[in-house]
Symmetry: C2
Subunit: 915 residues, 2 copies
Amino acid sequence: MGNRQIYFFGPGNSDGNSKMKDLLGGKGANLAEMASIGLPVPAGFTISTEVCNYFYENNGKYPEGLKEELEEKLSMIENAMEASFGDSDNPLLLSVRSGARVSMPGMMDTVLNLGLNPKTVEGLAAKSGNERFAYDSYRRFIQMYGDVVLEIAPEKREDPDPFEEILGRKKKKVNARQDIDLETGDLKEIIKEYKQMIRKRTGVDFPDDPHEQLWKAIGAVFNSWNNERAKTYRRLNGIPHEWGTAVNIQSMVFGNLDDNSGTGVAFTRDPATGKNVFYGEYLLKAQGEDVVAGIRTPQPINREQAGGKDLRSLEEEMPEIYGQLVGVRDRLEEHYSDMQDLEFTIQDGNLWILQTRTGKRTGFAAIKIAIDMVREGMISKEEAILRIDPEQMNQFLRPVFDPSQKKKAIKEGRLLATGINAGPGAATGRVVFHAEDAEIQAAKGEEVILVRIETSPEDIRGMSASSGILTSAGGATSHAALVARQMGKVCVVGANGLDIDYRDRSIEAGGITVGEGDFISIDGNTGEVFTGSIETDPSEVLQVLIEGKLDKDQSEIYRYYEELISWANEIRKLGVRANADRPNQASVAVSFGAEGIGLCRTEHMFFEDDRIDSVREMILSADEEGRRRALAKLLPMQRDDFKGIFEAMDAMPVTIRTLDPPLHEFLPHETKDIKALAKGMGIPVEDLEKKIDSLRETNPMLGHRGCRLGIVYPEITEMQVRAIFEAVCELAGKGKDPRPEIMIPLIGSAREFVLQKEIVMDIAEKVQNETGQQVDFTVGTMIEIPRAALTADKIAESAKFFSFGTNDLTQTTFGLSRDDAGKFLVDYLRLGIWPSDPFQKLDQEGVGALIKIAVEKGRGSRPDLKVGICGEHGGEPSSIGFCRQNGFDYVSCSPFRVPVAIVAAAQAELNERKK
Amino acid sequence: MGNRQIYFFGPGNSDGNSKMKDLLGGKGANLAEMASIGLPVPAGFTISTEVCNYFYENNGKYPEGLKEELEEKLSMIENAMEASFGDSDNPLLLSVRSGARVSMPGMMDTVLNLGLNPKTVEGLAAKSGNERFAYDSYRRFIQMYGDVVLEIAPEKREDPDPFEEILGRKKKKVNARQDIDLETGDLKEIIKEYKQMIRKRTGVDFPDDPHEQLWKAIGAVFNSWNNERAKTYRRLNGIPHEWGTAVNIQSMVFGNLDDNSGTGVAFTRDPATGKNVFYGEYLLKAQGEDVVAGIRTPQPINREQAGGKDLRSLEEEMPEIYGQLVGVRDRLEEHYSDMQDLEFTIQDGNLWILQTRTGKRTGFAAIKIAIDMVREGMISKEEAILRIDPEQMNQFLRPVFDPSQKKKAIKEGRLLATGINAGPGAATGRVVFHAEDAEIQAAKGEEVILVRIETSPEDIRGMSASSGILTSAGGATSHAALVARQMGKVCVVGANGLDIDYRDRSIEAGGITVGEGDFISIDGNTGEVFTGSIETDPSEVLQVLIEGKLDKDQSEIYRYYEELISWANEIRKLGVRANADRPNQASVAVSFGAEGIGLCRTEHMFFEDDRIDSVREMILSADEEGRRRALAKLLPMQRDDFKGIFEAMDAMPVTIRTLDPPLHEFLPHETKDIKALAKGMGIPVEDLEKKIDSLRETNPMLGHRGCRLGIVYPEITEMQVRAIFEAVCELAGKGKDPRPEIMIPLIGSAREFVLQKEIVMDIAEKVQNETGQQVDFTVGTMIEIPRAALTADKIAESAKFFSFGTNDLTQTTFGLSRDDAGKFLVDYLRLGIWPSDPFQKLDQEGVGALIKIAVEKGRGSRPDLKVGICGEHGGEPSSIGFCRQNGFDYVSCSPFRVPVAIVAAAQAELNERKK
């Protein structure tokens, strides 16, 4: 432990600053920073993350001296705020909040209004001159403390919250529409019922001692670091469990004190669109949680946002306070050079700032803000690149609804409601009402829309599994909106026209009922909700680049995209290629900036209707002669396929992999298809069935595939290589510049490679002699089974390049079938056995160790060995970082991941420079 | 190249000796040695293996100076033998033979009688006074040279050999029963026809120039090093291709000169039984190849062998020569301290020794000879151990026919014929007539007996695939007998009562016809051949050790076995354990000398009739509660299983692996079984089918198995661990000393192990508390997937032992399913991609690299980590050597491999000492 365990902040006197996030958490560091730069921050202090770690390492005990230090800092708050903790005349009330290094919204616990008891509540009433306010605060405090510290929860999933049940019953009884309609007497009765219920459920009285309240609340916050939802959140977001949380204890200020009070949250720029406008919401006579929880629909902070709606903005309601708030906004952006998310409270006409942090934003907003800030001279291009999550590039490519289809849906009366556009893109899927159901359905391959009144942190996994999220309550800063924005999900919130009934599992709106399993469609750009499914249209970027429907001048979005890609291209050194099997895919990849093809799978061509017959004839031939006859028919087709690809990729490298999948994949498995094929081939069904049976494999992943086919049937490799070189020589003869790289799959022994390479060299020479064309080419291999990595030195003696097939390498290194892992993947992630799905993020520890061995051994034999990756990981940012660290020449990914890979490659480069 | 390329040997003047096998090959080195120690060796010289390698590296060119050196040595032969090469009055004739470092019988080419032409043949006739002999020699020379150098062969597999065709036609015409019945005139006509046929097929005349003959023959021998059958032989026997062959050129001596001449082969001891008797065969008026080729049935060299048969032995025929031969035998055994295989020729009453080499022998003979030689004071125990191929220990355990069954078969008239007992043991299987068919049928899992008139080197792969080998021609030194002895195959040769017809694919004998696919049974101990199959009885060793049917005093064989095992146990340091799942298997293993159980698979117990229902109930339960109910029923059964095993293994370690196979392996797959199960469970068939379908996996090898089961269903691990500890504590309470080692399978991440170990520790503590017994135990893991090896340092932080599951580790390292590899294994071996089947011999380069990483990393974290192996390789000698080299503590193999492992472990130790 360091000496200091608790860090004070308050007007002109902060122990910490914004650089101390590791120790103070993000919130604590920023509170200290804000106090330092003169913003109006209620005094408080932060118990450091080191105390949290001590707490966990010592079975919930606190380090020595903490109590004394806390007492000392508490009296500093009392001095700053001119009130006394536990004093029955002039009571100081405190908030107790978590605060990790990075924000984990809603994941951990908070207690507000701490310090109230039957005596201090009277003091608060007297001091504020507002008895209702004091008892309302006390009611809220008991409820929150009961939930967080005493852990009082519904006994069954279907049951209502016990506090909400008492509150709801009372509201009904006195005919109160909203909480605010309850009178002091009602509140006192509610408090009494709360206390009775607590005594009944816990066996002890609700504590009156403010110090007991404080220490128990601190313990609850520390404990909440390890609750299930926080652990899930950390896993999903790659946050180490060892970081721990700080605890922020701060003087309460009251947005619910009187008509001159309120509370709100704001972003210094629009977090959905990235527009440089001040954006936020507030509620009069409310505490902060009311805005975020979405119980009352909040009002906009300025006229611009209010639009035509019947809502009074803060700008109109309290112009002076609004002016101060704009000043705070400017000061924060200037100070932090980034878009900030802030919380404020107005108490009796005074503005207090309770929190600032880097604001979450949509992918597009992130990019727009970063680029705008470069244009505004606030940050460098490099800084802009580093601020973007490369995954956000996906959002440029998100579909939107086909306008004519949408118009038609509206005409047909299928527009069910309109809510707030909280996550861009268009999504269509089946309705589910519970997060668990979303997970289950998604695991089955269903596209689902999770529909909730509002979401809560327990729903995270289900949100992650859904194609879209729709809520009927809550605003643009509600939990659903925040999380969806972060996950890059299509999201509509606050569609309060919807009546959602969890018990009936149905939605009603304007007489239309939508049941569980029915299709709905949501537009995250406009907030519209439709019944049924609606066809989607490609994004603007795709319309410019691929569809040619838009000119780049017509699309501001496209111009942002283009600028960003050009900066990333300036920075990165890692090459970016695409995995593409057909000429049109190759063209798309080039449009996105791919610099070559890293994987062209020849077998996909085999499935085309006019080819599969010859392929099957080849497979079912009794002998080599028969196979050669069938292959001869395939040759001209394969040659034409390759010609198309080489034309699309002129002067760029094209890595063509020889046949990889087991032959049985090309044969029919349904009885009727088998019958049809037997008839077509003029052979008895039984003979065909016998042949198909003889090709069946116990573990096809580990069976007769890859180069093992070319070894046993060299005539297949011969045909494919001939097709490639005939295409290449023909194009070369026409002045084109085809650049083939022949790649042999599933090599496990150097000799396998040597034997297949001999065929390539032999056929290449023959075709060159036949055509009189001389062409450059290389022959290399995939490294996709551990033995290849372990004997890479020998393989590299004859292979000119390695391309890591990390899908198969992950399967073999883990002994894990991608097709079967689903059954236990969820448990493995839940239990923290795997930090993430190893098929999504490269397992740097295990698979990465083999890759390092292979690169080192390979370059040991052949220093200029070209090294790339063509597994799915080639488009995943953290895996791309790994590739850069290990000296790869390029990554190759699916065409639509190319923009992600370009930005990730630039980030990887900047991260390398930092070292 | 060294200076000397050619090494002379002859009476009292040898350039080489028996230590120079690398350079001179085995034959050449021994000829030089024999000449040195005064044995009568015809003069000759050896062209070294270095010349062979030069020849291959320089496209068939010879090194400079070779020609001159050859001329010089040739004149030394001429001086020693008092004859001149190419001289028409007193011609020297030569033999040209291959000679590799180790013997490769029949694999490479030989030319005899070289130097004959129309002039020298007349000189030979005059000199020998035997015109018929001279022309017979010339006929043989042309035929052999035509075959070997001119490569004249049948055009189709079914065709007769063109030389044999001419010869046969002539014999028919003149009514000659044997070659010896042909007269000089016949021979001259045959020679003419041979030459015409050669001219027709090659377009050139048969060469008359002796020097041209000599150089072409040398080239042919060098080329024969790389013919297909030689390559196959080297692959099967692990002989490096780089060794090359020497060429031995030696003065001819003639066993076919006159009635006072002959030729023979002999073993200094009986190669089949190991008995210390001089054992051999000879033919009068014959050349060496006649004995080996089995064309004429040879005669025994002494009375003892002749037995009651109507054959005159050499001892009777030429007592003086026989006496000299016995002297040679004594001199050779004294000089080489090992059983020798020698070739001799008697020319006109003079004995010549043409070759000596270490004699091939049966497994049992090898052991008996080695032990006898220790007893005779000729060699040390260590030397004896090193002389044995550990695989030969298997022969002690070979079955014999059940005597009553055999008696019954004889009574039923099923004794078809009796031949020579050439490979011990008893075999029963279906008849095949071609080596290819043997391979094909064996690949399908059929036991086959390969039936041939005689075998040839082309048949090796088929012989290897057969359960037994039966020939109608040839003797105890024929190709079939030699190869079978070496491979350890059951073999009967020379059963000349059988009339084998390849075209009809049938055997006839005494009116009985046996067709292809019919069962026959052969007794390799007695030479008997039966129709139909006969039940077998365990070996004498098993009858002493396991069955208790014999007392050790009654079995000399057992006493040899016991002595050898005791020597091996004195020497070895590597522990030997067994893989055993049931108490009776454990007892067998202990009888063989196992020092513990290295792998007890708990799942095999699950298949017992009374358990499988509960297992299925557990698998098909909808929830944890249902699973726990079913597991509770299994608990007492598993506990009893473990009790039995711990009792059998008292005070020895027992490594128990928790459940490993995917759950679907326990469910029925046939429709009728599914129906029966559904009925038994009282659920609809469709529901059961759906559940079975949901458990089906694409790649079960890489699916939900191993510790992945215990992670998802911890209750399974809990039950198994409880069963173990309840058994252990109960036995400990009775004063027994059970020593459990709990092994978690298929670990890929350290955290998987930690989570499963927590369960083990928790349950172990509970059961110990419940029973009041304190027991010692350890928890460790299998290392069977690459990721475990790569992260072994982290796993070893909590695992106390590693046991390499090399079956699965081979599958994952190669990306190769053992169940599917059969489809291309043959091609992979043929093409030299794999030196041997990696599931039989550990792949030291690839899989071995991972094992080294794992041991190094594991012992880095935990220096006293116990390391073992429990894959099939744990019983394979070369793999055991690898384990010893890498510091393993023990190997574990199937109970019947324990004797092999014990001897291999002793050898491994002796090999380590040599370093």
